[in-house]
């Protein structure tokens, strides 16, 4: 948006983070090369600059990491909860102290704006460790009986959309309950997990309690399949989630899966319109829409549709897309060329199927992976873009006439992860929320996260809950 008030560049300093030219796997408290010496490069999606070269784990490395975790488990699980809590509190404090560095690192490796890593990701990461540190010595009172036992070694595979936050969601409850972990970050965003390994050393965490294996899907598959892993936790695509479910079927591994979504954001005609517009923007353009619980389907009551869409388009025209390190950037880069291609293809399908495309007026940088905020109107339940998860900054707008129709359309999805309700009428919030088949229902807000609140899906969005007291259950032997 051209204006007399042009914001001068306000880049966060890159020099607060020191990225080494290469990193090894973090096994048994030490960094080491992969057994077969393989490495891969990680690039910054906003510039395609190579940030570092990291070791590529194979089956032999997975085995070594699981053995280290198994060895560490005996002592770690025997520690009094109050002692484990001390380590977790220490980790949380170190994360806070190093939050600026970690925010810049995450922005470089992931492509998301510094405004988000600084104000959302990092505060939530620290909050998760603080929260589960508090549970470590209170497990007797968590509602799972006296002295609930940990499961053993947890194999955890996380996605690239919130690298450090997903790590926190996985590692904090696992350690609090006395498990040891082997975690594989996504291949496009390995760096913050490696920095976390350094934080574990800084906190004096016993060797082998946390092991980090960077690598591709084959390493993740080997980890899930490893016979000495007791617990599998995965966040990622529904396709991989299904493969994991098949893989562990017939074993006694406990599994939690947090998969895709196609969240419905329902706006009633008595909604607080200006705040609903903000909620829609947060719902689908936060993290470039690369959020499993994104509000990617806007269900708007027909009587306010035109007014709402005008306001939404006006608001989208003010979004600032560009250098993710600039403190004024609202929309950063798409995480990878592969993801950009997927978003592009699905948007083209939307057009081919007759939906009307509108794109926010903004200039895309020449290098890197970018997709302008886009919305489709005239979308119906029959359109692919109303059913398939796009995982990008693309909003499908559908309309409804009555609350029953809104609920029916919202629930008519293979997914069931999140939903939003916008109305000034409290009784309607309660009535609609009770009928929605979604793990998280937000009322007059969207994409609000808190470690105390359980998170998880219905249907193909997965099973098990992370966060809150419920999140402990996934790491305790309560069967």
């Amino acid at each position: 948006m051209a204006s007399a008030f042009e914001y001068a560049p306000a880049p966060e300093s890159r020099s607060v983070v020191d990225i080494a030219p290469s990193y090894g796997l973090f096994i048994d408290g030490e960094f080491s090369e992969a057994a077969d010496g393989k490495v891969f490069k990680t690039v910054s999606p906003s510039s395609e600059e190579v940030l570092s070269e990291v070791a590529q784990a194979g089956a032999a490395d997975v085995d070594r990491a699981v053995k280290a975790a198994r060895k560490a488990f005996e002592k770690w699980s025997a520690l009094p909860g109050s002692e484990r809590a001390k380590y977790l509190f220490r980790i949380a404090r170190i994360i806070q102290e190093r939050s600026r560095e970690l925010a810049v690192l995450e922005t470089l490796d992931n492509g998301k704006p510094i405004r988000e890593t600084r104000d959302a990701d990092l505060p939530l990461v620290a909050a998760h460790f603080f929260y589960y540190a508090g549970w470590a010595d209170k497990l007797d009172h968590a509602g799972f009986g006296a002295n609930p036992r940990p499961l053993g070694v947890a194999g955890q595979v996380i996605p690239w959309n919130f690298p450090l936050l997903m790590l926190a969601w996985k590692i904090a409850p696992a350690l609090a309950t006395g498990n040891t972990v082997v975690l594989k970050p996504a291949e496009t965003t390995p760096l913050s997990a490696l920095f976390f390994a350094d934080i574990c050393r800084q906190a004096g965490l016993p060797k082998g309690v946390v092991n980090i294996l960077t690598g591709y899907g084959d390493a993740g598959a080997a980890l899930v399949a490893h016979e000495d892993v007791n617990k599998v936790a995965f966040t990622g695509s529904t396709a991989v989630g299904k493969a994991i479910a098949r893989q562990v079927a017939g074993t006694d591994k406990k599994v939690t899966l947090e998969l895709g979504g196609k969240g419905a954001n329902i706006v009633f005609d008595d909604a607080p319109i200006d705040q609903a517009v903000e909620g829609i923007v947060t719902g689908i353009f936060f993290n470039q829409g690369q959020v499993c619980c994104a509000g990617s389907r806007l269900l708007v009551q027909e009587s306010v549709q035109d007014e709402l869409l005008d306001a939404l388009k006006r608001r989208l025209s003010t979004l600032r897309l560009g250098d993710p390190l600039d403190k004024n950037t609202d929309i950063g880069a798409i995480n990878s060329a592969e993801q950009l291609a997927r978003i592009t293809a699905l948007a083209e399908t939307g057009e081919a199927e007759g939906a009307e495309r509108w794109t926010a007026p903004c200039e895309l940088p020449s290098a890197g992976y970018w997709f302008a905020p886009t919305l489709f109107t005239g979308v119906t339940q029959a359109h692919t873009i109303a059913r398939d998860e796009i995982f990008g900054p693309v909003l499908s707008v559908l309309s409804f006439r009555t609350p029953d129709e809104a609920v029916a359309k919202a629930n008519n999805s293979q997914y069931g992860l999140s939903a939003g309700i916008w109305t000034e009428k409290g009784s309607r919030i309660l009535a609609v929320a009770n009928k929605l088949r979604a793990g998280v229902v937000w009322a007059n807000t969207f994409n609000k996260f808190d470690p105390t609140s359980p998170f998880g899906g219905y249907k193909e969005s997965g099973f098990g809950r992370e966060g809150g007291r419920h999140g402990l259950e996934a790491y305790l032997d309560v069967r």
């Binding site: 008030f5 914001y7 705040q275």
Partner: protein, 320 residues
Amino acid sequence: MPTTAPAFSDATASDSALRRFLHGLPGVDAVGLEARAASLGTRSIKTTAKAYAIDLAISMIDLTTLEGADTPGKVRALAAKAVNPDPTDRTTPRTAAVCVYPDMAATAVAALAGSGVKVASVATAFPAGRAALDVKLADVRDAVAAGVDEIDMVIDRGAFLSGRYLKVYEEILAVKAECARADGTDARLKVIFETGELSTYDNIRRASWLGMMAGADFIKTSTGKVGTNATPANTLLMLEAVRDFRAQTGVQIGVKPAGGIRTSKDAVKFLVLVNETAGEDWLDNHWFRFGASSLLNDLLMQRQKLSTGRYSGPDYVTVD
């Protein structure tokens, strides 16, 4: 005689019609509004943008003295400062206006004649507004007769809070009529809601529409005399109101946050709110003002810092 925009003649036909209209405006979610204001508050305004914003903010100040102890000497000193805010740097923009009580209006008008700096006078039994209508109107008449450019009136919050919207509306109409000068021009009318007393955001949105429908040229948050004055959230809400009012009627209305804005950092945040809510058409002192006094010196110190690279101190700006 000012008249209501035809679009609203039905809405203002009776007290109940007006209530239905105002209560039919979209509600405001307080948490969401405050979150949006806070989020815009994280904009990082540096270098050239900061220089632009500081000069713009200076040019938007209604330099204000509203004290029982005001004297002609004090008002003349303030007028001199408005014309020449920084004696060490003549490129510093002048403030938009000087804002005084009605009995000081003539002094201010004389002191600012030919300077381009406007004179605004509070009126209508400012700040409480607890006086009979003819007393309030006489207050306005005096100020207009003294030659002021702008009138800052207060609404009857008691009437508003008890749901007598039509009384508030008709009072604004009456004041607006008194703003007319013999030569056919009008003093611009700023309508103060005292948002701290209206208390809820829904009330502030309703008051904004009520004021705009009654012919306000500016809608203004507060008097500066109560606990809660201008905040980013209430100003954001009023900016949404003027934006929506123009979209609906084509009529542009100004916004003036007043009270409690003391630092350059705060002022720049308000300008970001203007830029990203109402838009650049409001980035002009004809459409946006700051009701402030101590803010000016902080802006001047920041301006000196930008031009010299050094921080000076309070002794390097004038104290009046």
